[in-house]
């Protein structure tokens, strides 16, 4: 079996899982000021992702760790090449994680309002920047023969990458709204449904534009199906079929990720300086022994992880409503 290819697929799966899962909790966080009218609404929203957001984030940690192990040069060039955007993402994730835990532990409205701002920015910034980063990956970066990225930070904000960022931001907002429609009850649910219905009108053209600009071959097909899934999601949410709508937006997010990795293949970080300098699955991969070891570890433990994470979603499957929220403590 071609182990580097297997690990490229494994890393694509991990990123896809990350976008599908943390995509909705980014959306929920960023929608706080849009869908909540008072503190109880905000707490309904935050508690709907409360038990699961941290586990969702581990998909990112695992994707990055797996990249380090399986494609060290990809890991090194990508993180140093996107230095400032990655820094911003880290600061956002730090603030956001602490904010979820700490916002309820203060006594004043001002304390909570400040942490709410951190949650909103900490969710919206990574939602935009992941799209920007991955669009740049697909497009390629200025990179020399030594695999050192020489692109300036301003070059990262090209039209295609900004489109990618706006797409992930708006798509995650929609995905988060559909999640809230599915997982909450009361006014937040009503507003989330309305928001989801309206926001499709923004997300859809962005997705179509991105897919058209990106697509070639099989990846294009995945992008087209993503568009179809998004339309299906829009129909479902308007008909009040929240479960189907969430499935559809999850599929759309997942297929967007497939489109990105499918277009990237067989490269992992294309060089715009000279295609000969590109990092590819073949030249960035670790040796077969490391990949074999990691394959066994993943084969044994990934199903286990999926099992208990699915169980935790099952445990917290019920809708969260205003009545469930206890008094402030």
């Amino acid at each position: 079996m071609d182990l580097p290819l297997v690990w490229f697929l494994a890393i694509a799966v991990l990123w896809t899982g990350y976008f599908v899962l943390e995509g909705f909790d980014f959306g929920v966080g960023a929608l706080l000021p849009v869908l909540a009218r008072d503190d109880t609404d905000r707490r309904v929203m935050i508690n709907s992702i409360g038990p699961v957001w941290d586990g969702n984030e581990v998909w990112l940690i695992t994707a990055v760790g797996a990249t380090f192990a399986a494609f060290p040069a990809w890991y090194a060039s990508m993180l140093s090449g996107f230095y400032l955007p990655v820094l911003l993402i880290l600061l956002a994730l730090i603030g956001r994680g602490v904010a979820f835990e700490y916002r309820g532990k203060g006594d004043t409205a001002r304390w909570r309002a400040r942490w709410d701002t951190v949650i909103v920015l900490g969710s919206a910034i990574p939602a935009f920047l992941w799209g920007l980063i991955f669009a740049n990956l697909v497009r390629g970066l200025e990179m020399g023969a030594d695999h050192v990225v020489t692109a300036s930070v301003f070059a990262l904000f090209n039209g295609y990458a900004v489109l990618g960022g706006l797409l992930t931001l708006s798509l995650f907002l929609l995905h988060g709204a559909v999640f809230l429609a599915l997982k909450t009850d009361g006014p937040v649910r009503v507003r989330a449904r309305a928001f989801a219905g309206r926001s499709v009108l923004v997300v859809l053209p962005l997705l179509v534009a991105f897919v058209a600009w990106t697509g070639r071959g099989g990846a294009l097909a995945a992008g087209v199906v993503a568009v179809v899934a998004l339309v299906a999601g829009a129909v479902a949410i308007r008909r009040g079929r929240e479960g189907w709508a969430f499935t559809a937006t999850a599929v759309a997010v997942g297929l967007l990720s497939v489109t990105i990795f499918g277009t990237l293949f067989p490269e992992v970080l294309p060089s715009t300086t000279d295609p000969a300098f590109s990092l590819t699955i073949a030249n960035a991969a670790s040796a077969p022994y490391t990949l074999t070891v990691m394959s066994w570890v993943a084969l044994v433990f990934l199903p286990l992880v999926l099992g208990y994470q699915a169980w935790s979603y099952w445990v917290f499957r019920k809708r969260v409503g205003r009545d469930h929220i206890p008094a402030a403590h």
Binding site: I46, N47, G50, P51, V52, D54, G55, E57, V58, I61, T62, V64, G65, A66, F68, A69, A70, P72, A73, Y75, A76, M78, L79, S80, G81, V86, L87, L90, L93, I94, G97, V98, F100, E101, Y102, R103, K105, D146, V148, T150, S286, A287, Y289, T290, V293, M294, V297, A298, F301, L302, V305, Y308, Q309, S312, V315, F316, H324, I325, P326, H329
Partner: protein
């Protein structure tokens, strides 16, 4: 210059991260044990203690998680040359840490926080244990990776790429430096966590705001002492083993930590030294004869290598350059680690004796001393890492890769300056916030997490039919 800033950033972010890690490692197990005690005995006091220390644990846990994310990204951001060189070997334990430990930890901590009154009691108890196991397991993988940098095993250098290539994952995971370091670091973490519980309890006994919780904190004070004492024994034994491994694998680190300038037969252990680092000699050196030789080799008559002689040998092996780390810093870091760590253990030993058979401390200063033992233990943990990491210099991977050759070539001085400032600033703010919250919840006491019943009536049992998650956010 970018190299210096990148090193400062790694030092600051890692030390900061490690203020929270030891408490998470130890407190997860202590809280799980308290909950187990409640589960076994059904006594409300244990539940109250679980909820009180569980709250403090979670405030600390959040900081450990978010500062940990930076660690995994930082290798690629600032040390891309290092990452490319070691990724084949070093990446594997990191990926395993995420897959085996972080998922376990974060999924089950969510289930534990929100699962009160929702999950069956036995399952809920299993959740905190799963999180505690995940936490303690993650330490093994990251320490195996760190141990490999100090004593690289199970690899070869690929002749075409010049990069490290894993040949035996078993060698990396069973590295004697890995398990020895694990025992030492985790026991040191339990000292910090034990003293955290003791210090909080001592503070509550000292302030005596609420007489109802007096008995609870008298007991948890002793729990903290017992944990510290047991961990103190492990830390001493494993520390002795660490010294021997250091003499074997990193003689320069040991020589610098002892300010031992020349190879010596039956070398003495330095208690206090004033030296001339430029000149490579000490002016004053108060020693315990033969003790260093015993620590390093197990024999009072053993031979210990000195800085100047090792420098000569390393120059012969690796070419010209200075292979001497920061001697003054290491010498004092070594003493601070041992001094502060053992002082914390001593406090717990004396404390256990003074509180035997239901006794209480007689004087307030005794409680204050216990409170002061907590920062001492955390500092001891930090100085241990300064000794470990600064003592490895000028290498990132001993004998294989120099720190100067590890940094990201494409990252500019400006970029590192921005990230260093940003992390330092946000970490400083969060430190203030975190300390404020801990202080608030310690002061509020156990009644804030679990109200006492109005009169002397029997305490109400939990209502198991009310299966709504605890929406704590």
């Amino acid at each position: 210059m970018a190299l210096d800033l990148a090193r400062w950033q790694f030092g600051i972010t890692t030390i900061y991260h490690f203020l929270f890690v030891p408490l998470t490692i130890g407190l997860s197990v202590i809280v799980a044990s308290l909950q187990t005690a409640w589960h076994r005995t059904g006594r409300t006091e244990y539940l109250r203690a679980t909820k009180f220390f569980g709250k403090l644990f979670l405030i600390n846990f959040a900081m450990g998680v978010v500062t940990g994310i930076v660690q995994e990204f930082q290798f690629g951001m600032n040390w891309s040359a290092y990452s490319t060189f070691v990724g084949d070997v070093f990446g594997a334990p990191l990926a395993m840490e995420a897959l085996l430990a972080f998922f376990l930890e974060s999924t089950f901590i969510g289930l534990w926080i929100f699962g009160w009154d929702k999950l069956p009691r036995r399952v809920h108890l299993a959740c905190i244990w799963a999180a505690a196991i995940g936490t303690n397991l993650s330490a093994y993988f990251i320490l195996a990776a760190n141990a490999w940098m100090r004593h690289p095993v199970g690899f070869e250098i690929d002749p075409t790429t010049g990069q490290a290539r894993l040949t035996s994952i078993w060698a990396v995971l069973s590295n004697d430096q890995a398990w020895s370091t694990y025992l030492h670091v985790v026991s040191a973490a339990f000292i910090a966590a034990g003293l955290f519980v003791a210090a909080v309890s001592a503070y509550k006994l000292l302030t005596r705001k609420d007489e109802r919780e007096h008995e609870l904190f008298r007991r948890t004070l002793r729990v903290g002492f017992v944990v510290t004492l047991v961990a103190g024994i492990v830390v001493t034994v494993s520390g002795d083993h660490q010294a021997k491994l250091m003499a074997q694998y990193e003689p320069m680190k040991l020589a610098a930590a002892e300010a031992l300038w020349d190879d010596e037969h039956a070398a003495g252990f330095s208690i206090f030294a004033v030296g001339d680092i430029q000149d490579g000699r000490n002016h004053v050196n108060v020693q315990v004869p033969g003790l260093l030789a015993f620590l390093a080799t197990g024999d009072f008559d053993g031979d210990v290598q000195g800085i100047n002689d090792i420098q000569e040998r390393l120059t012969a092996e690796f070419g010209p350059g200075s292979y001497i780390p920061n001697v003054g810093l290491l010498y004092w870091a070594f003493r601070m680690m041992m001094g502060l760590g053992l002082a914390g253990v001593a406090v717990s030993v004396v404390g256990l004796w003074l509180t035997r058979g239901g006794r209480l401390f007689r004087w307030d200063w005794q409680y204050r001393l216990v409170v002061a033992a907590l920062p001492a233990a955390l500092l001891a943990n930090i100085f241990g890492w300064i000794l470990t990491e600064m003592g490895r210099q000028p290498w990132t991977v001993v004998g294989e890769l120099l720190t100067a050759n590890s940094v990201s070539p494409g990252v500019s001085l400006t970029e590192v300056a921005i990230s260093l400032s940003a992390f330092t600033l946000i970490y400083a703010v969060l430190a203030v916030v975190e300390f404020g919250l801990l202080a608030k919840y310690v002061k509020a006491g156990t009644a804030a997490v679990m109200p006492y019943p109005e009169n002397d009536a029997a305490e109400p049992d939990r209502t198991d039919d009310d299966r709504v998650p605890a929406f704590v956010y």
